[in-house]
């Protein structure tokens, strides 16, 4: 065999295996970065995670600062976001998948939803500030923040629900019509029950986005040091990411530890929600197989 050719081939093979390692190490570095991030924050914050951290309000003194108001505020915020965004999101997905005629208005709505998904969250904050906080004079309340957050995650919920509804086999629809059910009955009793797993998966992931989102809350003027618990939808509040942002900004290192501890709490909430999302996904996959 030609020596040159042989050398060329072994060079190409060597290059191939070198590149494999290069590409693989990109993935490995990515995994290492996330490990480093979790380790660094975990090591700094874990000492602050005691009972008083959860039962204290925010404070000027880092040792006394706790996230009681923030934790309750985040839950209250979710109590607005979940029903509002689920209702609008599900109605939109059902309309677009089951009823919408193929015309320009439908195409416009679809294009509009994909545009909305790309709008930076801080711009949603400006919308909320003008419309909810000022024009509807809701102030920096749970309701104003909840409505803003609902709009922010709406595109994700709609797209996920559309995909879930689309994946319901037509045979189920036809069987339901064959039994004499109306379209609405079919949607309510056949399509939604079989799509609900995937709908929940997408929705839970979008709720976890809403829990961690900070920029819109800042623009809405949500305060940080709140010494009371919210009493109703119109009451002022603070939320977990706002509290973390405030602690992270302060120069004292003890506040950085509090921020780390707050991040641990936030991440635990998100991981739990993700676990639920995966559970619903697996369950709906099993159901579709049967």
């Amino acid at each position: 065999m030609d020596h040159n050719l042989q050398a060329k081939i072994s060079r190409r093979i060597a290059k191939d295996s070198a590149m494999k390692w290069l590409f693989g190490s990109a993935a490995a570095i990515l995994v290492a970065v996330i490990a480093f991030l979790f380790y660094g924050i975990g090591a700094d914050g874990v000492d602050r995670l005691n009972l008083s951290f959860f039962t204290n309000f925010g404070s000027r003194f880092p040792e006394k600062a706790g996230l009681k108001a923030a934790l309750v505020g985040t839950l209250a915020l979710m109590a607005v976001v979940i029903p509002v965004s689920m209702f609008i999101g599900l109605c939109s997905a059902i309309y677009l998948e089951e009823y919408a005629p193929k015309n320009k208005w439908t195409a416009f709505i679809e294009m509009n939803i994909s545009n909305l998904a790309g709008v930076p969250s801080v711009v949603f904050g400006l919308l909320g500030l003008t419309v909810f906080v000022r024009a509807m004079s809701l102030g920096n309340s749970i309701l104003a923040a909840g409505l803003t957050m609902s709009l922010l995650i709406l595109p994700i919920i709609i797209v996920a629900s559309q995909e879930a509804i689309r994946s319901v086999p037509d045979a189920l629809r036809e069987a339901s019509y064959g039994m004499g059910a109306t379209k609405w009955q079919t949607i309510l009793h056949v399509i939604l029950p079989s799509a609900i797993g995937s709908i929940l998966t997408g929705s839970i992931l979008s709720f976890s986005r809403a829990i961690g989102e900070t920029a819109p809350l800042i623009v809405l003027g949500i305060p940080v040091i709140v010494q009371f618990l919210p009493t109703g939808p119109l009451s002022t509040f603070t939320a977990l990411p706002m509290q973390i942002y405030d602690w992270a900004k302060r120069p004292q290192p003890a506040f950085a530890d509090a921020a780390s501890a707050g991040i641990i709490v936030l991440l635990i909430m998100l991981v739990t929600m993700n676990a639920f999302a995966i559970y619903f996904r697996n369950r709906s996959e099993k159901k579709l197989k049967n």
């Binding site: 590409f23 660094g40 924050i41 309309y95 919408a100 930076p120 801080v122 419309v131 009955q185």
Partner: protein
């Protein structure tokens, strides 16, 4: 065959009446749903309307060409406030550029590894980790940049300031990585296996196949993923607010404090600028620019993806 009893007749009538009532409701349903769906359109109009309205008010205070071409951004100066947006624009571009330089090569390498090299087992481990990375709130990344990445970089570059564009840009690059990986991986995976088989049959190595056959065939999807990721980097707020500082800078220095369009909005919102002041309206003008940039980039990404999609 017995004849139908009168009582059965009445029951049938009831059933039909109930069905008709349901049908009437059923006819209403699409209109009710359409009304709710139209709220999403209303949201977009709300965004465009509020941004435009307040931006117009801003331009009654400030000359539009001073805003677009001005090189000094000093809204808080009492003696001589100036609203030239170029420093904010440059700050934003610095962040986006560093983020792309970090995110695109690493993201593409990762995507090629996952779609061309990784065994299903490795894929099953790495993909959820990338999804996890995508779900981390940006406030966490911002804290990470400020407390871990900046000190680390300061050991290499001693003159690096506490707030700097470099550290924030690198972490924004890490933040957009999952997006590039998953969108590019989708594009690479959808290239038909017959392309690869043909390339192997001609004697190509895996690397040659990936670079000369698979990647070119997936170009439109990869380009779209890069544009979308850039748009995300431009709109990113928390990382830059925490780690990049709040000093508008009209220069090319990466080691010092800068201000981006997003972090200016945050600075005003956390400050005490009153309603109706020029500063108050300025965040809408900056927000409108931000909206315009991200909107155009998202449309461009969609256009490239659909227009140049290879049909197999």
């Amino acid at each position: 065959m017995s004849s139908i009893q009168p009582s059965e007749k009445a029951r049938t009538r009831d059933i039909i009446a109930a069905a008709k009532k349901k049908e009437r409701f059923g006819k209403l349903v699409p209109y009710l749903l359409l009304a709710v769906t139209s709220l999403t359109v209303l949201a977009t109009f709300g965004i465009v309307y509020t941004l435009l309205k307040e931006t117009f008010t801003f331009f009654t205070h400030i000359n539009i060409s001073d805003f677009v071409f001005g090189t000094e951004w000093a809204p808080f100066s009492n003696a001589d406030p100036s609203f030239g947006v170029l420093p904010l624009l440059i700050g934003t571009l610095k962040i986006a550029l560093i983020a792309i330089l970090i995110g695109v090569p690493a993201g593409l390498a990762c995507a090629i590894f996952l779609s061309e090299y990784a065994s299903p087992k490795v894929k099953k481990i790495v993909k959820p980790i990338i999804e996890l990375l995508a779900g981390i709130p940006t406030i966490v990344y911002g804290f990470f940049a400020l407390t871990f990445v900046t000190p680390l970089l300061q050991t290499i570059i001693p003159q690096l300031k506490l707030f700097n564009a470099l550290s924030a840009g690198i972490v924004v690059g890490i933040m957009i990585l999952p997006m590039i990986v998953s969108l590019s991986e989708d594009a690479l995976s959808s290239v038909p296996a017959s392309f690869r088989d043909g390339s192997y049959a001609l004697g190509s190595t895996k690397f040659e196949t990936a670079i000369r056959v698979v990647v070119p065939a997936a170009t439109s999807g990869i380009a779209a993923s890069i544009i979308l990721a850039t748009s995300r980097a431009i709109g990113e707020t928390m990382i830059v607010s925490l780690a990049a500082g709040s000093t508008p800078a009209f220069n090319l220095d990466l080691t010092g404090s800068i201000q981006t369009m997003t972090s200016y909005i945050v600075q005003v919102a956390t400050g005490d600028a009153g309603y109706g002041t020029t500063i108050y309206y300025s965040i809408y003008a900056v927000g409108f620019m931000l909206f315009l940039f991200t909107f155009l980039m998202n449309r461009a990404a969609l256009y490239i993806k659909t227009k140049f999609r290879e049909e197999y």
